[in-house]
């Protein structure tokens, strides 16, 4: 991967998420010597990361980029310690399920040190990870676990859906004074998108109106932003106008954008790949009901995955994940 090609040459051509995130890491490291990057196999000698998001970085930035032993607790804690004294570590957890072996350092330390120290210390680190069903990776390599972290005050959760957002959000996550969990979807990595303008940062906590509409608001993030637009296009042909919101930052949620939209449409559907129960959709649905109960034309609908581990066999994996038909049915239900 070429990390040195100039902005001018690349700006116009579509890029994928891998390229965009590589640029974000490269540009942040070039701009600030405090930015360091480590995780399993991120060094060029080890392949530059399993999907090559870190390609070229260790060659250019030397000891600031390090492949670690397979010791998530050890290197996550090291990121916390380095961040406490002003480094800006971007630490990669190869797959999201592996956060389970280093939860203590994330939830008990990264998320809480600012508060427990009375503001004397803070932890400006980014935890980047990837996940997603659809690759026959089974029950321990596919989960979306964002709700665990949304339920933990002190950490932010960012989940981009496209390369330009990926670049701009990762740059802001690295700049952020608090810990940020940055979750990529495997399914989104190779989908080409509009190239980011290098140097452009997208503020955390701000959703994006992907498409304006007037009948129903459909809220997604990460992978569901690949699934919602085709369903909306199909319904558009029937005269159903769908407003689509990409949350981009899942915690804190941009309630101003969500509520303004739902106030206008009177209907809301939330779509995420994580399992349904006790999830981000539940929180969002509750907040919409609390704020707009009397203005809603229908109860808020949730579309999410089955409340089971992610299965292996393709037909089971398909049955686990929501379908386009589920999204369509939920939208129609709010309009019934």
């Amino acid at each position: 991967m070429d990390t040195n090609t100039s902005t001018q040459q690349k700006a116009a051509a579509p890029v994928n998420m891998i390229q965009a995130l590589n640029w974000a890491l490269h540009d942040a490291m070039e701009e600030d010597a405090n930015v360091i990057h480590f995780g399993e196999e991120v060094g060029d000698a080890e392949g530059g990361g399993i999907v090559k998001i870190s390609a070229g970085l260790s060659t250019k930035f030397g000891s600031r980029v390090r492949s670690t032993p397979i010791s998530e607790m050890g290197f996550m804690g090291a990121a916390v310690g380095a961040a406490v004294v002003g480094m800006k570590p971007v630490v990669e957890v190869m797959l999201m399920n592996f956060v389970a072996v280093c939860m203590d350092q994330i939830t008990n330390h990264a998320a809480k040190l600012r508060f427990m120290s009375g503001g004397q210390t803070h932890v400006p680190m980014v935890i980047r990870t990837m996940t997603g069903s659809g690759f026959q990776n089974g029950g321990q390599h596919s989960d979306f676990l964002e709700a665990w972290f949304c339920h933990t005050p002190g950490i932010k959760v960012v989940m981009p859906s496209n390369p330009a957002d990926g670049y701009g959000l990762l740059r802001s996550a690295i700049d952020d004074p608090d810990p940020v969990l940055f979750i990529d979807h495997l399914n989104n990595y190779w989908t080409p998108g509009v190239a980011p303008v290098r140097g452009t940062k997208i503020p955390l906590g701000k959703a994006r109106i992907h498409q304006p509409g007037k009948d129903v608001t459909v809220i997604g993030y990460s992978r569901s932003m690949l699934d919602i637009p085709p369903v909306a296009a199909k319904l558009e042909a029937e005269g159903i106008s769908v407003e689509i919101i990409d949350l981009r930052t899942v915690s804190p949620i941009d309630m101003d954008t969500v509520l303004a939209s739902v106030k206008k449409t009177g209907r809301a559907v939330i779509v995420h790949e994580a399992v349904k129960s006790f999830g981000v959709g539940a929180e969002l649905s509750s907040r919409i009901h609390e704020a707009l109960f009397r203005e809603l034309k229908a109860p808020v609908e949730r579309v999410a995955s089955n409340d089971s581990p992610v299965p292996y066999a393709p037909p089971l994996e398909a049955a686990f994940l929501y379908s386009h038909a589920d999204i369509e049915a939920a939208i129609r239900k709010t309009l019934a």
């Binding site: 032993p69 050890g74 330390h109 503001g119 004397q120």
Partner: protein, 326 residues
């Protein structure tokens, strides 16, 4: 690597830190028994020597990470007694504004970076502090404290491995007080000496009498010199005992009576006090003057803590993130 006998000035400086730790601890427990303070308090009475000796070799620039039984480590490193006492009392004037308490003491201006309430968690964080120093080309070192029980958790092994692979300037100090909560050392630990575990990670493992300030000082001196000069990490196991159980209220039924009696009889504090006088490192009058000064410092700390206001309820909205939450 030099192994020097500390001079009288240093030996007395160690005593002064031990006295501060010991008298502060006695007074905290007294205040709890009298009902003036309430907290989950993990006394380190009996373990004073270890941080008192090590910290005389550190500067304010060096980093410290410790655990819930860490008041002694923090006082030795320079957390002011007033700010400690106000924090223990849960007051707005405490070092953490009353938001951390005894298990989360922090005071970065003296290098007191993190106190964790999670067994084993001090070591990975210490590796990160040391990594930052290494990347910045600094000579400062990081000391991580933990107990014997923590040497059985995965974070210990991951940290020793990482520190060794990356040659981090970190000193891992196991304060082996013979009990992991209520479980005796032998029941939970596979090796006769925790220091032996260092061999698995290709780093020096020093086993010392943690109740002997000179032995601790000399071990720490080797480890600190090695770390400062880029030689990498060292594991120090300092054998000691805690006299007040796991936390205040623990009656210690699991501690064999003879073992407890022997440990108390070997209390390092009065022993060291006599040794200093007998070996003419200080006169009785000098020692008494130090103690009077310490008592005055603790009187002031307690009065400050008791007279300080509680934190305002609005503080639950602050320091969750860089901005106040709604």
């Amino acid at each position: 690597m030099g192994m020097t006998q500390p001079d009288s000035k240093t030996l007395v400086a160690i005593y002064k830190k031990m006295a501060l730790i010991k008298h502060s601890d006695d007074r905290v427990i007294g205040a709890m028994k009298a009902g003036r303070m309430q907290m989950p308090y993990y006394s380190a009475r009996g373990q004073e020597c270890i941080p008192a000796a090590i910290s005389t070799l550190l500067t304010d620039e060096d980093y410290l990470v410790t655990i819930y039984r860490g008041v002694h480590d923090m006082l030795a490193k320079g957390l002011p007694a007033k700010l400690l006492w106000a924090e223990l009392a849960g007051k707005a004037t405490g070092s953490c504004k009353g938001k951390g308490g005894p298990m989360h003491l922090t005071y970065p201006s003296k290098g007191c970076m993190v106190t964790t309430g999670i067994v084993g968690a001090s070591m990975p964080i210490a590796c990160g502090l040391a990594l930052a120093s290494q990347l910045r080309g600094e000579t400062r070192v990081t000391v991580a404290n933990f107990g014997d029980g923590a040497s059985n958790i995965g974070a210990f092994h991951e940290s020793l491995n990482l520190a060794s692979v990356w040659k981090l300037p970190v000193i891992l100090v196991c304060q082996n007080n013979r009990f992991a909560e209520h479980t005796s050392y032998a029941k939970g630990t596979s090796v006769a000496k925790i220091a032996n575990r260092a061999a698995s990670y290709d780093m020096p493992g020093l086993h010392v009498d943690g109740n002997d300030p000179v032995a601790v000082y000399q071990a720490a001196q080797q480890a600190i010199e090695r770390a400062r000069s880029g030689g990498g990490p060292t594991l120090i196991e300092a054998l000691t005992f805690r006299f007040n159980g796991h936390l205040i209220g623990d009656m210690g039924e699991y501690i064999p009576k003879a073992e407890y009696a022997a440990a108390v009889a070997a209390d390092p504090y009065p022993k060291y006090r006599s040794w200093l006088i007998d070996n003419r490192h200080a006169t009785s009058a000098e020692i008494e003057a130090i103690e009077a000064g310490i008592k005055a410092e603790i009187d002031e700390a307690e009065a400050f803590a008791m007279s300080s206001p509680p934190p305002d309820a609005i503080e639950v909205k602050r320091d969750v993130y860089a901005y106040d939450i709604a």
